[in-house]
Each structure stands twice: as C-alpha cells, then as structure tokens.
Symmetry: C2
Subunit: 412 residues, 2 copies
C-alpha cells in the first residue's frame, strides 16, 4: 500500500489557527453555533479548502463540504469531518480536531493517490457540520441529523435561541445560509474526535475504536406557577415554578444515584421567568438528560422521571414535558470498526474498543450511512471546559489512523 | 380645618397616563429601573410637575423631587411619593399609585392653603425614588436608602445589571444622572402604597395604618463547581453548581416549612453559567430571602441557612455568601400613625393597623426621618403580577387620607 502521510507541520498550524476563533482568556474557546466567532472559523475553513483546491458546497443547514473529486463527479464519497461550533465554555479540541484532522487526512489520501497508479473508486471530502453542540439552538447534532434525514430542515432552521433568533436568521447573518445540495452519495463517514472521557488515558491506549453509542434521552420540562410578591404572599398561596424546578433537579440526580451512577443524569440548563429576587417565579424551564449503555435501564429511568414530574406538578403547578432527544443504543458499522483496528495495528498504535457516551455527528450519520468513529485520549477526561487537552502525539496518531482508513476506503 | 379636596378626575387621568409606560399586553407594566420605559415615565412625571408649577430637582441617584414652596425656601419639607419603576412582571399600582396620589395630595394641600388665611409652616413635595424594586440593580429601595444615608451614593451607582451596565450609565442614558442636592430638611415623609397582601381585603377595611415593617434578610449565594461534559464525565467526578443551587432552593423553603409558614422564604432568581444542556454547571448564583415579623425567629433562620450552605458546599463545591439586605423589624413614627388613623376616622373611612412584609422607601426613610405609610387594599393580595388590582374607590380614599395627613403636617 502506498504510504499515506499527514503533513504534520500544516496540521499543527491549522490546529493553532482554528483555536484563535472565539478564544477565551483561559485558553478555551466560546464559539456557539452561528455566532460571529463561528462565522470567522467557517470563513477560515473555507479559505483553507480553497487553498487546497477542494470543491466547496454549503447546504441549507450551513454545513460546509469540501470535496476532492479523485474518482470523478459521480463516484461515491468517503467523508470525514466534525464540527467547528463549541459550547460557551468549550475547549480547543472538541469538534475542531475532527475537522482539522479530517482536512489533513483527506489531503494525505489525495497525495497518496496522485503518487500511485491505482485508480480510486471514491472521492474524499471533509465536512463541518452545523450545530453539533446544541447549546444555542436545540437539539444537538442538528446539521448531521438533517443530512441523515432524521429531522426536517425547515424545523431545524426554525429553532430559536434564548433571544428568539432563528437558526436560519443567525446563519444568514454570518453568510452561511447555503442552498447547495449536500453530497448524499456516501460510501462511508469516519469521524475523529477527542474521547471527552477518562477511559483511554486510564487504559493507556492511543486510539479508541468506537463500537457504538450509549442511549440518550433529553427532555425539556416547563413548569408554570403564578408570579407573586415574595413578601406579603402567604406561603400556602405561592405557586412557585422555581421550587418545582429545584425538586426536579434533585429527582433527576436521584435516578442516577439509584443505579450507583451507572445511569448518567444531568440538568445543565434552567430558565426562570421573571427571574427577579422579589417575585415568586411564574415559569421555569428545566433541560434534563439521561444517558445509559443499557437501553432497558434508560427506558425505566425515563418512565420513573415522567412519574416524578407528575408528582411535582401538583398544588397549582402545571408541567409540560417535551422529549427533544431519543437516541437509542446502537452500533457503528462492523466492517469500519475492524478496518480502524487493523490500520492502527499496522501502524503500531495501541487501540481499544469503547462506546461513546456523548452524541456525535457520526451517531446521526449511522442511522442512514456506514459510519464509524476514532477517539483520541482526553487528559483527565475533561471536556466542555477550557482545560480540555489532548497531547500533540495523540492528535497526530489519530490523524494518521484516520488517513489510513480513508485511503483504504477510497481505493476499495 | 379647610377642606382638602383631591381633583379626582385629574387623579384618574394621571393613573391612566402612567400605566401606559412599559404597558404589557396582559394589562401590567414592565418598567425596570432606568430602562427606556422608566425614562418615559420619568419624563411624563417631570412634565406634570412643571405643569403644576412645582420646583424640580434630580439628585445624583436620579430621584426626582417636585416641591411647592408654600412656606418659603428655608422651611422644612413635608414629603410624599413612591416609585415609578416596576418588576418585569409588574402591575399598574405598585409604586405608581403612591407617586400619582402623592402628586394630587400635594396639589390639594396647596389649594387648601391658598384659599385659607393660615400661614403654613412647611413646604410640600412629591418624590419618585429611583430603583425601589431592585430587580435590575440590587439592592432594592436604593434611592431612598442613599437619601437616608444607609448606603453610599457611589456604591449604589456602581451596581451592575445582568449585562454589566452600571446604574450610573443607565441613568445617564435616560437623562436622569442628576446633580441637584436632595431636599434633606424633612419634617415628615408619608407614602401611600397598595398593600400587596390579602389582609385589608379580608378584613374589609379601606385604609391600612402601617405600624412598621417585618424584618428582611437577603443573601446572594454563589456556588462554584467545575464545567464538564454531561455525557462522559463519571457522576462521582462531577462538581455540579446547579445541583448545589437546587439543594439550597429546597433548604430555603424548608426554613419556612419548619415555622409552619410563619417565616416567609423565597428564591426568585437564579443565574447559571454556562447554562448549557450538555455542560455540568460551573457556577450558580442563588438569590435568597427570608422575612419575619419576629426578629429572633428571623435571626435563627439566617443562622440555620448559613449552616446549610456550609453543608451543601462540600465535595468540591465552593460557596460564597453575601448578605445584601438586613432590614430589622422596626416601627414607623407613632405620632404619624395616630394622625393617619385620626384623618381616616374623621373622613369616615375604615382603617386598621398592620405591618408591611415588603420593603418600601418609607422603611428606608424611617431610619433617619419621621416616616409612615398608608396602605390601600390589593384584590386577592396579588402583586408583582399583571393581575394586581385596587378598586378606584380605594385608590381615591387613600389619596384623600394622604392629602388630609399632609395638610395637617404642613400647617402644624
């Protein structure tokens, strides 16, 4: 097999470059979807794609595809990539790594093809998916979910941020309300990503071959009580939506405690109206999530949670529950997993199998396409935090394995 | 005694006029301190003061004084008034009533003096205090507290809203960063206000003669944990500031429950960072308040609360507690209370004694000046809500009693 070499210097330069967009003083990034910082990162990405002679298309969700037509316009596409958006307290690696590693893996594949006589069967491309994080617009993995046909483009574009701005309007503002058709003839999608958990570091392995994903259920619970003065209003007449929300936060935690922490649960977001010291809260919106590797245990927690909401919503409090995510436990493509393992083994890079707890664009893609993921270690398992860190040698090993996998897929 | 007559038609017109500033579709008002809506209400108030020939001064906190110099520039001032700012979910009457009733009571006093031969001993004036509500800038009753010397003007002006704008900057924007000296030679301060509680309605009395105020203690508790991904981060490694905040909300409620609701407690406001679905909360700020008619029971609750915060702030959560209000149980001036009672009795308007649970500008004033309050009924005790309502005949009876009290004070 022709040697597939990442241009390590260029890869490092691009990792440094992308980390400047939305950079925060603590060394992290704040680059929520379709903000100015996200727009600047996208502009940089498009400039890099043009410099490398890639064909750029931007679909209606603002996802940016860069393609090298190695095998002709009608050939299927081997796609890699990830996302440039971040959480408000994001680190440098979550998403951006997969985009930059994907770009350089694709370029390495093209160089290898060019210097060989073999006729490639596929084109190769890299994508920046819109709104993987879901922090400004819900749900998460939005661009990839629309691409995979799991949600309607119009519904996704109508999602509003806290200030009532739609994703459609926000994308138009930064110049990424595209109308190109997305390249749907996919041979495979392989995404490199930091693990965001402690397993690889603990087990001292460089590459995580992701077997599949945990199940995830997310809900928004909106409690409605009645605004009242916190002074003269007698306690028994108060219909306090924030008190109901606090009860729910503890109940959500209790679901995890009941499984000794095997089921993961969290409330990371809450919105209170009018949120004024002297006013009994009229409304409180609580964003709940449960994750489990065991689908049956996850389903049981969701049933228990629904019963808890009903119990809290008594004494004049109204509750409306909306499920925003129902990601079932699922496996990635078996052939791709074996290929990743084989490429790592051949390159003498240690690897292990694991499952992703977090959602990823590759998980969205897997519902319709052959899809897989390559993880690299996260120091102390920390993510969604400026302290997020992955060592350069791990980043580069992941990019090399990704390039080897893409090269194999393009040729065969 | 010369008859002191409110111009009822003009009073009604002015109540209608002031209700248009920051009017909300549900019939309430949203007029937080130093917003455009507050600025418009202030402009209207100054126009009305000018139309009535009153001398206007605006102090450095933006408090607006309108004075009728009945007894000469050096005579002491009998002052009335209240506040034009509102909660985000405010009703039409809270504050605005006391300003409009105060204006018309002062005018009625001036007419009565003019048509009599008696020489008044005092001037009469009406004030709009800045930031009574404390919802945009903390603490509440800010303008009157600075006037009474309880807090420093510079500290008050440096208070910031959620977006980091200072009160000084916000006042400058709406044109009310004044530099007139406030009229500190007060003979007395009497404020009319809606009760905001259910007592007068239940007891079928028109006038509440306010004996004094409940004690109130307010705190801001800031929990700091660590931002982390809500997916792969193991439960035992999470340092969840929002979970700590939820525990505190329930503990604050439990302090009241332990007194069978005699102690009032509330958390009406919470701020979470980064407040994103997929991120374990790094920080949560909780705004806590306790109110009690019994100072000893209030003090005990505050001690118990401090112990609870210390208990919650374990397992890697840090807590910083700041007390923002320590309003002790206190009485209004005994002579003024008797005067209000006598004036109501003489006018054949029913009255009763009660205590205010809520803070008011008159409570701030009482720490330094002879001060008292007149309450009128609130339908169903509802306040800080668009449904806030007081019947016209009650509003007008309150204004009449206020005018009678002011007339007595100006003459004697």
């Amino acid at each position: 097999m022709q040697k597939v070499d990442i241009d390590i210097e260029a890869f490092r330069r691009d990792m440094d470059a992308v980390s400047t967009f939305g950079a925060t003083p603590d060394g992290g990034v704040c680059r929520p979807t379709a903000t100015d910082a996200d727009g600047a990162a996208r502009d940089w990405f498009c400039r890099r794609l043009r410099e490398e002679g890639m064909q750029i298309s931007v679909d209606q969700l603002g996802c940016i595809f860069g393609v090298l037509p190695l095998a002709g316009a009608d050939a299927p596409l081997v796609l890699t990539g990830s996302h440039l958006d971040s959480q408000p307290t994001g680190g440098r690696y979550d998403g951006a790594y997969g985009v930059v590693a994907g770009l350089h893996a694709a370029l390495a594949v093209a160089r290898a093809i060019k210097s060989s006589s073999a006729q490639p069967k596929c084109n190769v491309g890299v994508v920046n998916w819109t709104n993987e994080e879901g922090s400004r617009f819900a749900p998460s993995t939005m661009g990839s979910a629309v691409f995979a046909g799991a949600i309607e483009a119009q519904a996704a574009l109508a999602a509003q941020d806290e200030k009532g701005e739609t994703l459609a309007a926000a994308l138009a503002k930064i110049g990424y309300a595209g109308n190109d058709s997305a390249p749907l003839k996919l041979a495979a999608y392989v995404e490199a990503h930091i693990e965001q958990g402690p397993v690889l570091e603990r087990e001292q392995r460089t590459i995580g071959v992701v077997d599949g994903n945990w199940g995830t259920a997310k809900f928004i619970v909106e409690f409605t009580g009645r605004a009242a003065h916190t002074g003269p209003t007698p306690m028994h007449e108060r219909r306090d939506a924030l008190l109901a929300a606090a009860r729910l936060v503890l109940a959500v935690r209790a679901e995890s405690d009941a499984t000794a922490g095997a089921l993961l649960s969290s409330v990371g977001r809450i919105e209170v109206h009018p949120n004024s010291t002297n006013v009994v809260a009229e409304r409180a919106r609580v964003y709940v999530e449960f994750r489990d590797i065991d689908q049956a245990r996850l389903d049981a927690a969701c049933r228990s949670f629904a019963a808890t909401v009903a119990t809290i919503a008594q004494n004049g409090i109204r509750a409306v529950v909306t499920q925003t995510t129902d990601r079932r436990v699922a496996d990635f493509d078996a052939g791709l997993r074996e290929l990743i393992e084989a490429v790592a083994h051949e390159a003498d890079i240690s690897s292990m199998r694991l499952r992703t707890v977090a959602g990823h664009d590759a998980v969205s893609l897997a519902t319709r396409f052959k899809s897989a993921m390559i993880f690299v270690p996260s120091a102390n398992g920390i993510s969604h935090n400026a302290e997020e860190f992955t060592a350069s040698e791990d980043l580069e090993a992941g990019a090399r394995v990704l390039a080897g996998v893409l090269a194999h897929l393009v040729r065969n």
